[in-house]
């Protein structure tokens, strides 16, 4: 049921904070059971279809926001793959993550054109404002900051992408505050 609810909201992850909270509860704990229920549900259509590993991983990540260890174990079991091999495949692709991601994904392009037009300074400011380094996630799981190489619109350099949308240059300094406010508003509403 939780799985359904999460799917409706698309790529936004709802489980991340729950899972990270569950660190102490160990196997058999309630939260892990919840994750396992979600993953098993996703996997029903892939059961024993070895050729569908990457698709299955994508689906699981779409629902959970990342690929936790317990989820990968279930994928391995359902597809009859060695666990190490599933991890090996997943680790090959940059699209898969093994730790929880923030609700907002903020990406700063550090490609050549953006670099020349001041990307390092923007990245530095974001790092300072969020209190994290590039490729990290804030402790409240609100933001993940990424440094990417070229998003394909060098004419707009320096480019910042927030949740898959390019942020206007004049809004760069406001984007974090704006995203925070959005989160607060939706929590109140």
């Amino acid at each position: 049921m939780v799985g359904m609810a999460v799917q409706e909201t698309g790529s936004v992850c709802r489980c991340a904070d729950k899972i990270s909270d569950s660190a102490g509860s160990g196997p058999g704990g309630q939260v892990v059971d919840e994750v396992s229920g979600i993953v098993r549900e996703v996997m029903t259509k892939y059961r024993h279809h070895k050729g569908m590993l990457v698709h299955a991983l994508q689906d699981v990540q779409r629902v959970l926001g990342y690929l936790p260890e317990d989820a990968l174990r279930i994928v391995a079991e359902e597809l009859d793959f060695p666990f190490a091999q599933v991890y090996g495949v997943a680790s090959f692709y940059t699209q898969f993550y093994f730790s929880p991601r923030g609700k907002n994904i903020l990406q700063v392009c550090v490609g050549t054109a953006c670099h020349i037009r001041g990307a390092p300074a923007i990245l530095g400011r974001f790092e300072q404002e969020l209190g994290i380094k590039a490729e990290e996630t804030t402790a409240d799981f609100e933001f993940t900051l990424g440094a990417v190489s070229c998003v394909g619109c060098c004419g707009l350099a320096p480019v910042v992408v927030a949740n898959e949308r390019v942020v206007k240059k004049k809004d760069h300094h406001k984007i974090i505050t704006r995203l925070r406010k959005q989160a607060e508003d939706s929590a109140v509403g």
Partner: protein, 881 residues
């Protein structure tokens, strides 16, 4: 024979079977094509590119480890172009190998070093492009240095393909690719069984034995071939040594298998706790003394008991972990020197129903299958599937059988009968899960299927089993509701019976003698007879190294060497002539009977290498019995729990300092060779000296002399096999205690990989650090008890109680709990009820209760319970209330 393909390599003609690769064809004519990722027996991965060769008619160089031969191929392995490519490949590998050969343990055996030298590369052409990564030292046995890894993938493949274990894989990509575990967890959390196969096949220094670090360079090592001292698999062991230390155990070929005990478990022989001098009890305390004092005290005290109470007041007990020569001499000393048939060994506990049952049924033991017959079988019937733990080599062979194509099938059929979902059970085509303790009835069900459907070998039965008609009639008359008793569906039993009996198929039954009582053995024999599989149809997974040998050389009370019955006057005469004394005619007591008779009819005992306090059932009564003896001698390599009760303790030698022979579970006699100089005296010399001091001189100069005497007794007896057999009808008794409200669980005590026997060896080995004492419970039971892994609990049976730690074991069904046999106090919970015929303790599942230890209930209180049994040297005995 398959069709031959002719090709030319470096101008030489060679003909090889179809399907062979170029590199293998070249090896047949002694052309070594350099290679790093290729290893015989593993599927090619073409990862290293070092084996490139020129193939006429092909534009590019080809990978010779993956390219199959074709008729008329012309291959060149040493052209300018090939050599340049080889050099370039090596230079690229070096650009990601921050190797320092001066301290690398592989130096001298390293394959990268060898080829680099051959090609003559003096300096790296390319800068080093890989960051150093931390060395993994999170486990005590295998050190992983990922920086040195050349990504050949041999470890990935041997673990996956041969061991079916999948610990490693390639992770990430490009320059950051590395071979590691899922989520980079430590090996012990990744399903690793620490067989060390990955270490053996690693061509560079990325995987090494931790025990080997900084203990000698490869070229300084001396290699001695010997036999693994642990289980009945009897694997050949090559021990590499410096002057007084073992540095490493390995196999002849890189890809041969050893388990964790064989590969890493030899270190107990070098333990600092080894006894070096005799100990004698003075005023309740064991003190060091001279050899002369110890030996004369033993001779005097044993002689005194013999004189005052008669020879039948003495007894000898020996472990079946000694070479046959030592065992034979011990038997001779007890029977001829001490003059009593109170002589027994661990054979009684670990395999007697099987060995005696087979001798009775077939006349000889060598009807059993060999390990290669397991591999070649069409059908395998595995009873008690932890064979992969008891004889790990059997597990490897079972896996191999499943993958070896047979006539009309891709691999062998595997039927498993086990209440637990073990690894082997997971591989089965048919897994029957009877209720714990009811496997015997399930076999009856299979026999019934074979009889009622006429699936038996009619020709064989008619010619060899005179009582077949009677047996069949009586068996079919019996009322037998298999499903009601075992909980296994009728169809499954039917399928198993039909599959096993398959005409014209080779089938092997694999079972565990230490858990099989005479009723189980009788059913196994019936199955063999009904299907006419009296040769190579069964494999008993013998738990210890020389159980077969011990029975054969006569260290069981009812048989002289060569299975000559003690009651037979002719046999006694023969032995009297050979040994030059008159021998007692009355039968002796068995192992447990002797200790139970302590202070009633037995007053003195000599125990060689056995540790009843830790390894016999019902610890409390064992302690009581041994402590009540007038005189106890224990000869062992450590001050075991039993040795602490002794009046005199003699230091023996380990397998590494012994020579002689072991007979493994296949019946193969193998030479044990001395690897290290003796730390004390060889065991047989000690026995001979005591016997001589007691007036029965045993004068031998070496084990070989003993072996020669033994040979006349054992080989002479090996007459023809029985040709007439009898099917046996016995009524199995339900002996396991039914769980009740007070004791709701059934407790199974069994083997694990990281322990062995009484644990006195493995506890002093690094391998024991991989497993702390525990009790395994099913996930359901864990949940209903409200505990988690790691919870401290109190385990009680009607016999005693101990504290231990919970481990979740998904292989267990609800209601069954499991404890390793080498658990330090596990035998406090078991009972020593003996089978009236075999005198072996019945393998029973004790009823047990498990309670969480309350926070308020300090552990010391329970430790207090334990200390009741803790052996206190001053008082000599703990009281049990």
């Amino acid at each position: 024979m398959s069709e031959l393909v002719r090709l030319q390599i470096d101008g030489q003609e060679v003909a090889v079977p179809k399907g062979v690769t170029i590199i293998e064809a070249a090896a047949r004519i002694q052309i070594d094509i350099p290679h790093l990722c290729h290893l015989n027996g593993l599927v090619p991965s073409s990862a290293c590119r070092l084996c490139l060769v020129e193939l006429e008619g092909t534009k590019d160089l080809v990978v010779s480890c993956a390219r199959g031969v074709r008729e008329g191929m012309v291959v060149w392995t040493r052209t300018e172009r090939v050599l340049a490519a080889r050099r370039f490949v090596l230079e690229l590998i070096w650009s990601a190998h921050p190797g320092d050969c001066t301290t690398c343990e592989k130096s001298g055996r390293c394959e990268l070093q060898k080829y680099t030298y051959e090609v003559g590369i003096e300096r790296n052409r390319f800068p080093l492009r890989r960051d150093e990564q931390p060395i993994d030292t999170t486990n005590p046995l295998i050190e992983r240095n990922p920086s040195l890894c050349i990504l050949c993938g041999r470890c990935v493949r041997i673990c996956r393909m041969r061991n079916g274990n999948n610990v490693f894989d390639f992770v990430s990509r490009g320059i950051t690719t590395r071979v590691t575990t899922a989520f980079e967890k430590p090996l012990q959390e990744s399903g690793c069984t620490f067989c060390g196969s990955c270490v053996s096949v690693c061509p560079v220094g990325s995987l090494v034995e931790r025990q080997r670090r900084f203990r000698g360079r490869e070229w300084e090592l001396k290699t001695t071939e010997t036999v693994c001292p642990y289980c009945g698999g009897g694997c050949k062991l090559l021990l590499d040594t410096t002057k007084d230390q073992i540095v490493r155990a390995r196999t002849e070929k890189k890809d041969d298998y050893l388990c964790v005990r064989g590969k890493f478990g030899w270190d107990y022989a070098l333990s600092k706790e080894r006894l070096k001098t005799p100990l004698i009890k003075k005023e309740g305390t064991l003190e060091e003394c001279s050899w002369d004092e110890a030996l004369s005290s033993i001779a005097k005290r044993l002689a005194k008991i013999k004189e005052t109470r008669g020879p039948e007041a003495l007894g000898g007990l020996v472990s079946a972990n000694y070479p046959s020569e030592t065992l034979y001499l011990f038997g001779k000393f007890v029977r001829a020197g001490l003059g009593t048939n109170n002589l027994d060994s661990s054979v009684r506990l670990l395999s007697w129903p099987t060995l005696s049952g087979f001798i009775q049924a077939f006349g000889r033991m060598d009807v059993v299958a060999t390990l290669s017959e397991i591999e070649a079988a069409d059908t395998l019937l595995v009873l008690d599937s932890e064979v992969a733990v008891k004889n790990p080599m059997v597990g490897v062979k079972v896996r191999k059988a499943l993958k070896t194509p047979k006539k009309g099938a891709e691999g062998a059929n595997l039927i498993t009968i086990d209440s637990r979902k073990t690894t082997v059970a997971g591989l089965s085509h048919l897994h029957l899960q009877p209720r714990p303790g009811t496997a015997t009835v399930l076999l009856d069900g299979m026999i019934k299927v074979i009889l009622s459907e006429g699936l038996y070998d009619q020709e064989f039965v008619a010619a060899n089993c005179s009582n077949f008609q009677e047996f069949s009639a009586r068996f079919l008359e019996m009322e037998l509701d298999v499903e009601a008793i075992t909980g296994v569906a009728e169809e499954a039993v039917l399928a198993a019976g039909r599959l096993y009996a398959g005409q014209g198929q080779k089938a092997v039954i694999i079972f565990s003698p230490e858990t099989s009582d005479r009723h189980m053995v009788a059913r196994i024999i019936n199955l063999l007879l009904l299907t006419g599989r009296v040769n190579g149809g069964v494999f008993p997974s013998l738990l210890h190294s020389n159980l077969w040998g011990a029975a054969e050389v006569g260290v069981v009370s009812e048989f002289y060497p060569g299975y000559r019955p003690v009651e037979a006057a002719t046999a006694r005469k023969e032995l009297e002539n050979l040994w030059g004394v008159s021998l007692p005619s009355e039968p002796g007591l068995s192992a447990i009977e002797m200790i139970q008779a302590a202070a009633e009819s037995i007053f003195g005992m000599y125990i060689l290498g056995e540790n009843p306090v830790a390894s016999f059932p019902d610890k409390a009564s064992m302690v009581r019995g041994l402590a009540a003896l007038d005189f106890l001698v224990v000869q062992d390599i450590f001050l075991t729990e039993t040795a602490q009760l002794a009046d005199v303790v003699l230091p023996g030698v380990s397998f590494a300092e012994s020579s002689g022979t072991f007979t493994n579970a296949e019946g193969r006699v193998q030479e044990l060779n001395r690897v290290l100089p003796s730390q004390t005296k060889p065991d047989w010399e000690i026995i001979a000296e005591i016997s001589t001091r007691m007036g029965y001189p045993l004068s031998y100069h070496s084990e070989r002399e003993i072996a020669a005497e033994l040979k006349t007794l054992v080989s002479e007896f090996s007459g023809p096999r029985n040709s007439a057999f009898r099917l046996v009808l016995t009524e199995a008794e339900e002996i396991s205690a039914e769980p009740d409200r007070e004791y709701p669980y059934r407790l199974m005590i069994g083997a694990t990989l990281f322990g062995f026997g009484d644990g006195s060896w493995t506890r002093r080995s690094e391998i024991s650090r991989l497993e702390t004492p525990y009790i395994g419970m099913s996930p359901q039971d864990v949940q209903s008890l409200g505990v988690v892994a790691g919870t401290r609990v109190l385990v009680s049976s009607r016999r005693g109680r101990i504290t231990t730690t919970i481990k979740v074991d998904e292989s267990l069904p609800a209601g069954l709990v499991f404890m390793p046999a080498h658990h330090p106090e596990g035998n406090s919970l078991t009972s020593a009820s003996l089978d009236p015929v075999t005198k072996s303790p019945r393998f029973e599942l004790a009823a047990a209760s498990i309670d969480r230890l309350q926070e308020s209930e300090p552990e010391s209180q329970c430790a207090g319970d334990r200390s009741l049994l803790n052996l206190n040297q001053t008082s000599g005995i703990a009281k049990w209330n």
